[in-house]
């Protein structure tokens, strides 16, 4: 039997005595494309940080490929929600992506790392921007750079926090094409407060608002969404095809 990419069991987490995550159990398989949906403040980013090992649960257990998240970090690629850097930050696209290949103290980047960076820039169709200073990019280009940085060490899971927030609506379909391509090689977890961000490519949904209300196939998720948003939800994607769910 294969090991789950992510296995979360009975996880509780508190901030200042307030329960942010309540008894969460969640499995993610090796080639899953999962969207974690829920209102702002519902604990989505917190859950990602548990998977990444940035936060530790107060109780319960998180395993990534059967090991402690910190030990599995080499298998994870991460796209943070906000990257709050100085607009003149002295770094170009190439060096930004290269930081994704970090090996440890006293270990420099090798030619293999540099080749990997060029390859991923080529893959993301931003190779011609490699010498460009990072803030001299459009929102969509910058997002590709940060996705490149996340996947440059060929992770088994790509973890993205609100990836739709930083790109224009018309770029969503090309974003999802890219995700579909990456999904052949790795599991993808994305978090969004926007139900519309879920597209045809997503094959599993988890509805999170402190508790996990539903997780499973997209088709059956409407009830879970209603529960966390406290109103009926119609699932429509902005891409093509428009409707991802049957009428219900």
């Amino acid at each position: 039997m294969s090991v789950k990419a992510v296995k979360i069991r009975n996880v509780d987490l508190k901030y200042d005595e307030q329960l942010v995550l309540d008894d969460i159990c969640l499995d993610i398989d090796e080639k899953d494309f999962m969207a974690i949906i829920g209102p702002n403040g519902g604990g989505k980013s917190t859950l990602l940080k548990l998977i990444l090992g940035i936060l530790k649960p107060d109780s319960g257990d998180v395993k990534v490929f059967g090991r402690d998240p910190v030990k599995s970090r080499k298998l994870m690629g991460y796209l943070p929600q906000h990257i709050n850097f100085d607009p003149d930050f002295p770094i170009n696209v190439f060096d930004t992506v290269l930081t994704g290949r970090y090996h440890g103290l006293f270990k420099g980047y090798t030619d293999k790392d540099r080749e990997a960076v060029l390859k991923v820039l080529d893959d993301m169709e931003i190779k011609d921007l490699k010498d460009r200073q990072i803030s001299k990019l459009s929102g969509g280009q910058m997002q590709r750079v940060f996705i490149a940085r996340a996947i440059v060490r060929e992770p088994k899971i790509l973890i993205m926090d609100e990836p739709m927030a930083s790109i224009d609506p018309e770029m969503q379909s090309s974003f999802y094409n890219l995700m579909a391509r990456l999904n052949k090689k790795m599991a993808i977890i994305l978090v969004s407060h926007d139900v519309g961000a879920v597209s045809t490519n997503v094959d599993k949904i988890a509805c999170l608002n402190r508790k996990l209300y539903y997780h499973g196939d997209v088709e059956n998720s409407a009830h879970g969404l209603e529960e966390i948003y406290h109103c009926p939800i119609e699932l429509i994607s902005h891409g093509i095809p428009h409707r991802i769910l049957k009428d219900h």
Binding site: L52, R73, K74, I83, D88, P90, T99, R101, Y102, F106
Partner: protein, 264 residues
């Protein structure tokens, strides 16, 4: 005009200008891009507590400032981890408490503190050989540490959260960076004083940042600018008989204004 450099005190001041510019160019670049200017201001003011302690104990105030500035740097950098106090609040507290400790130590020291003013506002013309030696040693430490940890410093300055996911021990690297800020403060104290030194941290790197997209070039350019601008300030202060620290700061500020204007 060059004859003024035949005076030994001027030669020492010139050496001091080079030594402070290295600390400013290298560490100042991180201070500016990591946006820890006010934090560095707090460390520099807190260092005055060490200066006062040096007077009280009868040791070189520059040396006594080292533990003070390092401890305050660690306190500000680590406060979020151990207590519910924001970094901003910690900056405000340590900024003034360090100064207050310095004043009290000087009160407790019998007699008059003759060159106290020079630690507040700087006196690059009175740096001693032992001051220069301390500055040189600290510069060497700073450059070596930055060379060894350049990848980590860059990663943490750019995106702390992502860097920790790739395996950088972000907090430890951040504290190490703050320790370097603390050492740089000590390098700068004698030349421009605790109150004015933040200008030297900030301005050369801020000017250089307009011209360079590469951290190494940024550091080199900031160091060069530091040498040129502090020397200019030094000469002007001599010609017009003005306070050296204040003149240097005004030259830096003018250069920043001109550079900003030229860059549109």
């Amino acid at each position: 005009m060059l004859e003024i450099f035949q005076y030994p005190f001027m030669q020492k001041a010139l050496v001091a200008a080079v030594l402070i510019s290295v600390a400013c160019g290298v560490v100042g670049s991180y201070v500016v891009i990591k946006r820890i200017v006010s934090l560095s201001g707090a460390i520099s003011h807190a260092a005055f507590g060490g200066v006062g302690m040096g007077y009280f104990l009868g040791v070189n105030p520059v040396l006594a400032a080292i533990p003070f500035s390092i401890v305050s740097a660690m306190a500000i950098g680590g406060v979020r981890q151990v207590a519910k106090i924001s970094e901003d609040t910690a900056i405000g507290i340590l900024w003034s408490v360090g100064m207050a400790i310095g004043v009290i130590f000087i009160n407790l020291t019998p007699g008059y503190a003759p060159d106290l003013f020079s630690y507040l506002f700087g006196s690059i013309l009175t740096v001693s050989n032992s001051d220069l030696l301390i500055m040189l040693v600290l510069d060497v430490i700073i450059v070596v540490v930055v060379y060894i940890f350049r990848r980590e410093f860059l990663a943490v300055s750019f995106d702390e959260e992502f860097s920790s996911v790739t395996g950088v021990h972000a907090l430890a690297i951040y504290l190490l960076l703050l320790a370097l800020v603390a050492l740089s403060v000590v390098v700068l104290i004698k030349a421009v004083g605790v109150i004015l030194l933040i200008a030297l941290f900030t301005i050369p790197a801020a000017i250089a940042k307009q011209y360079s997209y590469n951290i190494r070039n940024l550091m080199i350019l900031a160091t060069m600018l530091g040498i040129i601008l502090t020397t200019t300030g030094l000469v002007l202060s001599y010609i017009f008989d003005l306070a050296s620290g204040a003149t240097i700061v005004m030259v830096l500020a003018s250069a920043f204004a001109i550079s900003y204007y030229l860059n549109g």
